[in-house]
Structure formats: C-alpha cells, structure tokens
C-alpha cells in the first residue's frame, strides 16, 4: 500500500477543532519553552557535576555546584510540564507519524517514563546530599541522573526522527515480511541532529549564568566576586559552547536528503548564522550589556531552531503527500475559547503572580513584603480562579441538565 495514502487514512477521523496552522504555531512556540528548559537542565546538571568534581575548598566551585544542582532540579520539573504542550499539539496534526513511531519502538516509549523517573530521583538524591563538604561518592547519583537524562533525550530524538521516515516503517515493523510486535528497537537515529541539540546545553547554561549574576546584583550575600566569577564563566561557556555546537549543526545540515532543498534552505542558513552570531556576541560581550539580553538572544536562536525542525518535517513528509493544511476541520468554538481564556486569564494572572512573587522575593535578602501592585495581582489570581470555577460549573450544569434530562 502507498504509505502516503496510509498516513492520510491514519489521521483521526474526528478531524481537528480549529485550523491546523493554529496548532502548528502553538506546537512550535511551546517547543521553544520546552527545549529551553531541556538545555538549561542538561547544562546546569553538567556544570554541577563538573564543579562538584573540581571543587577544592577554595574558590566558588562548591557553591556553584550546589546552585546548579538546584537549577537542574527545578529545570526538570519545568521541562516536563512544558513538554506536554508540544507533545499534545504534535498529536493533533501529526498523529499518524507520532503514533506509528511510538508503536514501532513501544518498549522505548515506555522505558522513557521509567528511566526519567529513575534519573530524576537520582538527581534528587544528589541534590539532598550535595552540601558543603559533601562526600565524593555521592557524585555517582549525579552521573546516573545525567546519563539517564541524555538517554531520554536520545529516545525522544529517535521517536521524532522515525516519524519523518514513513517509507521505512513497514521494513521496521515487518522486516522480510515477518511481523515484529515487540517494539524493541530504536530504528533510526540522526546523530548530528541529536548532538547539535544536546550541545546547545553548554551555551545555555552559560547564558543562564550571565543572567544569574545580574539577578543577584542586589543581594549582599551574593558578593561581587562570586557574581563576577559566574558571569565570566558563563561568558566562556556560552561563546565556546556556540562554537562547539557549530560542528554537529554543520553535520546535520550536510546530512539532509538530496533533492529536499534543505541543505541551502534560508531557515537552515539563518540557524547557522544565528549560532555564529551568538558565539561572536558572547565572545566579545561588553561589561555594560544587560545580563538578561544574551538569554533573550538564546531564546531567539531556539525559535529559529523550532521553526527549522518544522521546515525539515514538512520537507520530509511532503513527498508522501502529507500536508496538515488539508486535515478535516470541525471548528469547536466553546473549547477554543476555553483554552485561550484560560491561557490569558489563568496563565497571565496566576502564573504572573507566582513568577513576580518568586522573582522579587529571590532578589531580597530576608523577608519580602509584597508591594501594592503585587498584592493586587495576588488577589486577582485568587479571584480569576474563583470566577473560572464558577463559570465552569454553571455552564456545565446547564449543558448536563439539557443533555441528560430534557
């Protein structure tokens, strides 16, 4: 059977509840947030381990190791929760590819969950034990955690990459015509792509350190020498990290299929230029540059990467006649409104309150007393949730009564 026709038939018959491009845009945007925390977590974990082994009683390495251990701990939580959205939106418009790829490597898809739990628990053990004068052997927990995180990255990479190769699915599922339902193999890995994305963890933690030094400028317990150390280290990690990332990126660029038009595609070229630009900028970063600006630049680079991933996906699937634009649409306004109202109302007010409170409290040594504006934001957060829940029930009961009793 023609695999292009098969893929179009495998689409969910219910169609999608809004224009597919809307899901595509949300998928790309939310992936930027997800991958940013992936990079930060892996970079912070790597730096925490490096600092842990490096630390003598002198210098700031021990302190840095403890700080980065905490960053990685929080980072994993956020990368998981932020990964839910792109996973969801991918399943809406690329369901045939994503599901087929997962089923073909079923054991790995399930293994991903358990290895992630083990990795995170191991990292937590390291976090609890990594205090001043910590014993050396606890570093094992950190290594186990980081290695499992890298394995999980590899599984996700393989599942995503296999989804781009529908022409090979049947060969993987039934090699030689013999069906294999074990899902025991990762069938395709594009090492340059995986290594490029992973390598961005090094500059990511560098950019974070520059911002970290800026953030704590008002805290007396984070003395200028420590902040200068963090900023200088961050600058080195960022500039050298971007240079390092260029190698696998160029390898990835060269490995695109002939005739796909990807090798010299403008977005791919833009990505290469963005990495070079970030390397140059961070190499010569001026003392007066705002500490958060390089981080913003890094997010911009990730936005280009997210866009590039999507361009690559489209280029791989187009020859098979798969185009999200012709997915059947059954517009569902109430649930569309539910999402966007929740995103702006709850995400904006409640998320905004939490982030503001955490951000401001962290910059103060001792007790932080909320300003009038923050206090209002807090009241608004509770109020919007009360309103949301009230509307949810009133609206729901009306529909429930109509459908069940009238």
């Amino acid at each position: 059977m023609d695999i292009g026709t098969v893929m179009n038939t495998m689409r969910d018959p219910a169609g999608v509840p809004a224009h597919p491009v809307l899901f595509q845009a949300l998928m790309v945007l939310t992936w930027v947030l997800h991958i940013a925390f992936v990079h930060l977590t892996l970079g912070a974990a790597g730096l925490a381990i490096f600092s842990f082994h490096r630390c003598s009683r002198e210098g700031y390495w021990e302190r840095l190791s403890m700080a980065m251990t905490k960053v990685a701990k929080v980072g994993v939580s956020l990368l998981i929760v932020l990964g839910v959205a792109p996973l969801l939106f991918t399943q809406v418009i690329y369901d045939p590819q994503w599901y087929a790829s997962n089923v073909l490597s079923g054991r790995w898809a399930i293994g991903f969950i358990f290895t992630l739990i083990l990795g995170y628990c191991s990292w937590f053990a390291f976090y609890y034990a990594n205090h001043e004068g910590a014993k050396r052997h606890i570093g094992v927990f950190a290594w186990v955690g980081l290695l499992l995180f890298c394995l999980d990255g590899l599984i996700m990479h393989a599942l995503s990459y296999q989804a781009l190769l529908p022409g090979q699915w049947m060969d993987w599922y039934a090699p030689g015509g013999v069906v294999d339902t074990r899902g025991a193999a990762l069938h395709a890995i594009q090492w340059p792509r995986y290594l490029f994305i992973m390598s961005l963890s090094v500059p990511a933690v560098g950019l974070f350190l520059i911002a970290y030094a800026h953030y704590f400028a008002r805290r007396e317990d984070r003395e200028p020498a420590y902040r200068a150390f963090a900023r200088s280290l961050g600058q080195r990690l960022a500039s050298r990290g971007f240079v390092l990332a260029l190698l696998p990126l160029l390898g990835w660029q060269m490995s695109h299929p002939a005739g796909s038009g990807l090798v010299a595609h403008p977005v791919g070229v833009l990505l290469v230029l963005a990495v070079i630009a970030m390397a140059g900028w961070t190499w010569r970063l001026r003392e007066g540059t705002h500490g958060y600006l390089p981080l913003v630049g890094g997010l911009g680079l990730l936005a280009v990467l997210a866009l590039w991933r999507e361009v690559v996906r489209i280029a791989h699937l187009k020859p098979f006649g798969y185009d999200i634009a012709n997915y059947v649409v059954h517009i569902d306004w109430p649930s569309t409104l539910l999402f966007f109202a929740t995103l702006t109302g709850v995400g904006g007010l409640v998320g905004g309150y939490y982030l503001t409170l955490i951000y401001r409290a962290g910059r103060v040594q001792g007790l932080y007393t909320a300003s009038r504006g923050v206090a209002r934001l807090g009241s608004g957060a509770v109020a919007i949730l009360a309103v949301w829940i009230a509307v949810f029930f009133i609206y729901g009961i009306a529909i429930w009564v109509r459908n069940s009793f009238l």
């Binding site: 038939t9 089923v103 339902t181 059954h330 649930s335 995103l343």
Partner: protein
C-alpha cells in the same frame, strides 16, 4: 484503495499493554490525588495558622510540600505524560480520538499544570520569605488551580466511559462530550478520594513531627477532613454506579465485583478505622503504621479502582465509538465518522489493515498459524493475553484449553460476530480469518511451541518457493 486507518501493533506478552498502562496510571492517580487533596489541606491549615497566629503549622506544610515535590511533582508529573505514552502504544486510535475531541481542554489543563508546578515551588520555598498574606494567596490559588486540573481531566475520563446521551454523536460538540452523564458523579468520587489520600499521606508526614503538641494539632485537624472526604467519595461512588452504561454494569456484576468487592470493603474499613484512630490518639501515629496504611490503601484501593474503571469501559476505549481493538464501532455523524465493523466483515482485516505484510494477506496452509497469531494480536490483544496462565484475561484459559478448532470458530462466528457479549466488541470476520484465529488458538491450547512451529512453516515455505524458482545459471 480501501483501507482502515489502523496502526502497527505493539504487544507485551502476558500482561498486555493494558497492564502497562494500568501500572503507570495507578502510580499517577495516587500521586496526583494526593497532590490536589494536599493543596486544600495546605490552604486550610495556612488559613488557621494566619488567623490563630500559629506559625509552627507552616513547618508541617513545608515538610509535606517537600515530600510532595518528590512524590507528586516528580513521579506524578512524569507518569502524567507517561499515561499518554502508554495509551499511545496500546491504543493509538483511542488516544487519537480523545486528543482530537478534547485538545483544547487538555491544552487548558496544561496551562494549569504549568501554573501548578511553578506554584508548588513558590509555596514550599517562599514559606517565611514573603509576607503571610501574599503566601496565603499563593496557597489558595495553588489549591484552586490544582483542583481545576482535576475538573478538566475528569470530563475526558468520564467521556471515555460514555457520553450517556445521543447528543454528542449528532453534534460532535466538545461541550456535549465533556459534560456527560457521569461527569459530576465521577468528579465527586475523585474529589472525596483526594482528601482521603492526602490525609493518609499527611499522617505519614505528621508521624515524623517531634513536637508532640504540633503533631496532635495537625492530626486532629486532618483526620476529620479525611473521614468527611471518604464518606463523600463513597456516596458519590454509589451515585456513579447509577450513571453507568449497560455493558459496564454487566462487566461489574459478572467479572469485577466477585474479584474486587472484598478488597474495596477492606480498604473502606481500614481507612475509616485508621483515620478514627488517628483522630482519637494522634500521638500514637507511628511512621511504620502510617506507611503501612498508605501502602495498603494505595495498592488494595487504587489498583482495583483503576482496573475496574478501565475494565468497565470494555469493549470500548472512548465514548462508546472506538473499540479496544482500534476499530471504529459506530457512526458519529457530528464528526463525520463512519463505523468500520461492516467493512471488516465484508473485506476482512487482512485486506483492509495497512500494516499486514503482503505474504500474509492471503491465508494458506503455510501461513495459517502465523496469520492467526497476527490477527489475534490485532483484534484481541488489547484486552487479552495470548499465553496460557497469564494474568490479562488470557484467551487460552477463556476457552478452557479447548483444542477443537470448530468449537473455537463457533464462538467467533456466533456471539462475537453478532456482538452478543455486552463487554466484547463485535468482531465479524470472513471465514478464512476466523479459521486462522481458531487454528492459532487451538494450537496454543494444545501446548505446542507456537513460535517454533511458525518459524518451521516459514522456512518450509521459503524452501518450497526457492525450489520452484528456476535457476538463472
């Protein structure tokens, strides 16, 4: 070309993908219900701490919060997407159907998840670092946001059982799917249970408090909340049973209650006694006892509850329109969906399924066993193991080890073909496919090594094919 939008099959011998999903699901339910329930305990306790000027209560919240960070926000938050991965490999069309009906609901839930994860870190780490009023707002908003995640997921879970009315099939509207007949009953049951779970976990944390006055104060506060939550959960569960479809009631009465009823009663009795004891003798809440009570309630209580909920849905996985074996069971005009059972009856799975190798599309003596095995995996293995003596309703034992192909075929062409078993899908297959499945099951029941036989037949067929191919030399 006529084909169905079926996926390749992932098969886990013995326990099937159903148990893989069940194990991950149970871990997630325990962790997530604890988290949502605990968020309200925090809010109530903190309100008490602020009103009565008892800052020492915040120490308990901090300790419990730290426990939650590991238990709910590592294990719970990973197993949440873990359920997606599990159902993806178990029922790709089932999860696809849910995603395409509820994507915006899930997306709204994601907003809450994100807020919740940021919130729990703020809640734990800002104790004593921000003014009391700001922290209290954080805690209350965290509780409401946590419960909102439950409000949103329960609508989807209860739709998986059934919409409870015909409207959704006609309109295809998410509203009609989400606010289904058993939504509120289901929500009430889970809301009550979350308090029980959170209090039981809270008692574990409280058992570690060395300040006896503080321990007494905390336990005396928590225990009655757990008791009221438990009572509410039981009442709502009884109401929930009244909102179930016929197939679920049959499944419940014939297969589930005989197995799980005693355990459910035991969990109810043990949790009630445990909470009453805690209320009565708060200083006697020893950690070992608290951990044992938690483990008992989590394993004996939640596992059967989740297994029952999953099993009662059978033969469907979503909205009574997608069977467990991935076949669309009926038309849904509101979404432009057409049932596939009759098409399969006419043309057969071998012709319509896109992931059947060409050499197996036509049954012959050389591949009948192999085709039978593959068809059994495609059509049956979502709910049944194919190996004798294995725990997931294995088919050989269901046939009591029968080796008579005609007897097995009679069942396939009788009750199964006509959908006469309320908890089984209607599987109407052409004669050759029925015979292939019956052959496979008969050989399995005879105790022969099926894999070895298939390998032998395959090589024999290859040798015969090679022999019949003229040499070019």
């Amino acid at each position: 070309m006529d084909m169905l939008g079926m996926y390749p099959t992932f098969y886990v011998p013995g326990i099937g993908t159903a148990w893989v999903m069940g194990i991950i699901g149970v871990i997630h339910v325990v962790a997530s219900h604890t988290s949502v329930g605990a968020s309200f305990l925090f809010a109530l306790l903190e309100t008490k701490a602020v009103r009565e000027n008892k800052p020492q209560l915040m120490e308990f919240i901090r300790k419990y919060g730290m426990f939650l960070l590991v238990f709910s926000y590592i294990i719970g938050s990973i197993t949440g997407p873990g359920i997606w991965y599990a159902i993806t490999v178990a029922s790709p069309r089932g999860v696809g159907g849910l995603i395409h009906n509820f994507v915006w609901v899930w997306a709204a839930e994601w907003v809450y998840f994100t807020v919740e994860v940021i919130g729990v870190y703020g809640l734990v780490y800002l104790i004593g670092k921000v003014d009391a009023k700001s922290h209290l707002k954080l805690t209350w908003s965290f509780a409401l946001a946590s419960w909102a995640t439950m409000l949103l997921i329960v609508g989807i879970l209860s739709f998986m059982m059934w919409p409870g009315h015909d409207n959704w099939y006609q309109t295809g509207s998410t509203n009609d799917a989400f606010y289904n007949l058993n939504f509120f009953a289901h929500l009430g049951t889970r809301t009550g249970s979350m308090f029980v779970m959170a209090v039981v976990v809270g008692l574990m944390v409280a058992s570690r408090i060395e300040d006896m006055a503080l321990r007494r104060s905390v336990v005396k506060f928590l225990a009655p909340i757990g008791l009221v939550g438990g009572l509410f959960a039981v009442m709502m569960f009884l109401y929930y049973l009244q909102t179930l479809p016929h197939n679920a009631v049959v499944m419940l009465n014939t297969h589930l209650l005989p197995v799980y009823a005693q355990g459910m009663v035991a969990v109810f009795v043990v949790s009630t006694l445990w909470l009453l004891f805690a209320w009565w003798k708060p200083h006697r809440i020893y950690t070992a006892l608290a951990v044992a009570a938690f483990a008992f309630i989590a394993v004996v209580g939640v596992w059967p509850e989740e297994r029952m909920r999953e099993s009662m849905r059978k033969p469907y996985v979503a909205g009574q329109y997608i069977y467990g074996n991935q076949v669309i069971a009926r038309d849904v005009p509101g979404k432009g969906i057409s049932g596939e059972v009759d098409r399969i009856a006419e043309k057969g799975l071998l012709q319509l399924h896109p992931f059947i190798p060409d050499r197996l599309r036509v049954v012959n003596d050389g591949n009948r066993l192999e085709v039978g095995q593959l068809l059994a995996k495609v059509a049956c293995a979502n709910c049944h193991a194919l190996e004798r003596g294995t725990p997931l309703r294995n088919i050989p034992d269901k046939f009591h080890g029968a080796t008579d192909e005609d007897l097995i075929a009679a069942f396939l062409q009788g009750p199964l073909k006509h959908g006469a078993q309320p908890y089984m899908p209607r599987i109407d297959l052409p004669e050759t496919e029925v015979r292939a499945i019956a052959h496979f099951l008969a050989v399995t029941n005879s105790g022969q090594d099926v894999e070895r036989l298939i390998a032998q037949q395959r090589s024999a067929t290859r040798v015969a094919a090679d022999a019949s191919t003229p040499r070019s030399e």
